[in-house]
Symmetry: C2
Subunit: 432 residues, 2 copies
């Protein structure tokens, strides 16, 4: 390595462009913190001709990002292409195989192929850094892996997808439906044309899988994350949440249970005073609970060129200074083999919302089914009286096993007087 | 260094005891994260005989902590004695001179002698780590120095003293006066017998000086911090704050100004919806604003054995892994020489509260003085009417220079109808 840290930048979209801009704009700060200059000396992007208005100076251009990763003139590769497969994956594999440090913002790649990539990085003793992959500018990877490293972590929970949080916040503040707000978010560029990665919870699940791996020191296990998105959240439920003293948030929650680690992403009802309930708009936040430190909360911008570049550049500075940590916080020989606990073993309170025909006996039928399945009720709410017509009914249960709720809902759904598939939202009263 | 990282622990009070307990209780987690075992092999404390119930195993005992620091059997020294002078200072100096890494929770030492200690650490190329010195378990040093390292920081503000925050929170929640709540806090062990370090803002100023040095990459300058404590806060002011939509918090604020860095600790009126306004009780919180990352907030427990040990052990794990950063984030050659901007150059809105005789003309006199000094008024509030008797009057100013407020208050204080020294609390509408 020369005294300058020579960066090869693969991808010049929002993330790559942001990194190039930040390294140029803050070159003095970065050099002081890194103890040496950090310069983009090569870029790889599909279209060379396009003028992106980026301060790329004399940087060499590569049509093939993998060739750039292998080039002897590059000390470290920043992968800012995205996606779990294809060229993004190959760039990272090539760089690690060549013993070159990699910095990436690619949560999908880490979540899906992180276990193999971590082994490759460890085999070559080279850093694989990905602060930008989770919660954008919030240095949550560093905090969990280094700042709280001595703690036995009991839970990590967070608002990990800014698009969903923006949609839910706007629905609540402006009393508008999901489809309407989503369309506007797409027009404004807050949501993708194909929004499924965000609104179906997949993006949050990628990030939660990474957080859980680091918090609990075990290889990433994305396929074990239970995932539900926010498409089913209606204004009706947002209104009832309000009335019951809750806010609806899409959370990722990883928790140490009796016999392993549970990981789940789904809409939650949070008490209005809970720290995460007050995180609105495009902000992300993470709450970690450690056995010695107690509750620590981090909040900041989870996406966008500036926050993402902030995380990537911090990783580059760590590499320039020679600071590194094992991918999951511990070497492969020291990783935990704690099993994943499936969602069917979850126990907790739920909000159930039915649309029923307002006629005598309906509530009695529903209550009998819940009793039969061993689900005890905390409260019941019915809005308005319209004999013979459809009215919403809300039930809040005490702690109940997932299987009991599922069985009860299937039976309730089958009642003739229940007009729609019942809505169920888990209530989180814990440290979130 | 042997494979085990051999720790010499100076001081066995709350901090030292907490560190010994955590290293024993979480030995497996710590070894996995550190890549090697971390063991307390020697302790130094005044009274050998006292049974502290600590898991100290075979640890050697030293009457002289400095002798322990120099001992060849010690790889790293944890200084948990406290105080800016005497044996605490000597232990750190001896260890650094011997080229041994030091971990300390001692904010007074860092604030007062940090510049010299940083030079000593740099001269020997040995880490001087002090995560526990600021905001207890919240890894704010690591976040500012590494996690946000590429940013030009524009401001750092925080609730840095849990004792003051507990007192202010309790005064507000229980409608009780300062002296009463302080006495109770002393009985409960939340406040020292001599509470001046906490309630006069000195402890917060130590921490702010350290945060500012790291955020802005310049040597610590404690003597330049403007300091006011909370002894003058009355229930009257807490009530008026409420009415005006504010909360009173003791904040430390460091900000990049036009020509340098301002650092100040004083009670503030914060809008009730501001992130720091909602941090209650013994919790600490820090908000940092960077040019690329935007606003990042960290919240957690700022004191106590567990949180403090969490920070010390994280520093030990960094040292075991060979991770280090220059004390102020950059080497001495790269530090900023930005001057300190004194409080007299501060410009901002203020809350002024007077106790006046309720008689015609008083408000006119006060308003005339403010006008003459160039202070413009945002609002005025008078509670109750008691002709001829004492009534409180509250004035909220627009942005005004410190000197204008001082001059106006001196003249107002001299009015015959003003019965007490006027109270002035700065209002912060910014990123805090």
């Amino acid at each position: 390595m020369s005294n300058v840290l020579r960066v090869g930048l693969a991808g010049l979209g929002t993330v790559g462009g942001g990194v190039a801009s930040m390294l140029a704009a803050n070159a003095d700060v970065v050099a002081a913190r890194a103890g040496r200059r950090i310069e983009v000396v090569a870029v790889a992007a599909r279209d060379r001709a396009r003028d992106r208005g980026l301060p790329l100076g004399e940087a060499a251009w590569f049509a093939d990002a993998a060739a750039m990763a292998a080039d002897a003139g590059i000390d470290v590769v920043v992968e800012a292409i995205g996606g779990s497969e294809g060229i993004a994956r190959r760039v990272v594999e090539v760089a690690l195989a060549a013993g070159k440090p990699v910095v990436t913002a690619n949560k999908a790649l880490l979540a899906v192929h992180g276990a193999a990539l971590a082994r490759a990085a460890e085999a070559r003793g080279t850093p694989l850094a990905f602060e930008a992959a989770v919660a954008g500018g919030i240095p949550v990877i560093k905090v969990l892996r280094e700042g709280l490293a001595g703690n036995r972590i009991t839970s990590v929970a967070g608002i990990l997808n800014g698009t969903c949080n923006h949609i839910l916040t706007t629905m609540r503040n402006e009393r508008r439906g999901f489809a309407d707000v989503l369309e506007e978010a797409q027009d404004l560029g807050y949501a993708e044309a194909d929004p499924s990665f965000d609104v179906d919870g997949i993006d949050a699940a990628h990030k939660l899988a990474i957080l859980a791996a680091i918090a609990f020191g075990r290889p990433v296990a994305f396929e074990d994350v239970h995932v539900e998105g926010i498409r089913g959240i209606s204004m009706l439920d947002i209104g009832f949440a309000e009335e019951l003293g809750y806010r609806i948030k899409l959370l990722g929650i990883a928790r140490r249970e009796g016999r392993g680690i549970s990981t789940r992403v789904h809409p939650c009802m949070l008490p209005a005073a809970a720290p995460l309930a007050r995180v609105d708009g495009v902000f992300n936040a993470v709450v970690a609970v450690g056995d010695h430190v107690g509750r620590v909360m981090l909040e900041g911008r989870g996406a966008g060129a500036g926050p993402t570049a902030s995380a990537v550049v911090a990783d580059l500075i760590d590499i320039a200074r020679g600071r590194a940590a094992p991918v999951w916080g511990a070497g492969s020989g020291d990783l935990s083999d704690a099993p994943s606990v499936p969602i069917r073993e979850h126990v907790g309170p739920s909000y159930l919302r039915l649309l029923v025909v307002d006629q005598p006996g309906v509530i009695a039928d529903v209550a009998a089914i819940l009793r039969d399945e061993g689900v005890s009720l905390g409260s019941m709410l019915q809005r308005g009286r319209k004999p013979g017509e459809a009215v919403p009914v809300v039930l809040v249960t005490h702690d109940a096993p997932e299987a009991a709720i599922d069985a009860a809902l299937a039976r309730i759904d089958a009642l003739g007087s229940v007009l729609e598939k019942p809505v169920r939202i888990r209530i989180e009263e814990g440290e979130a």
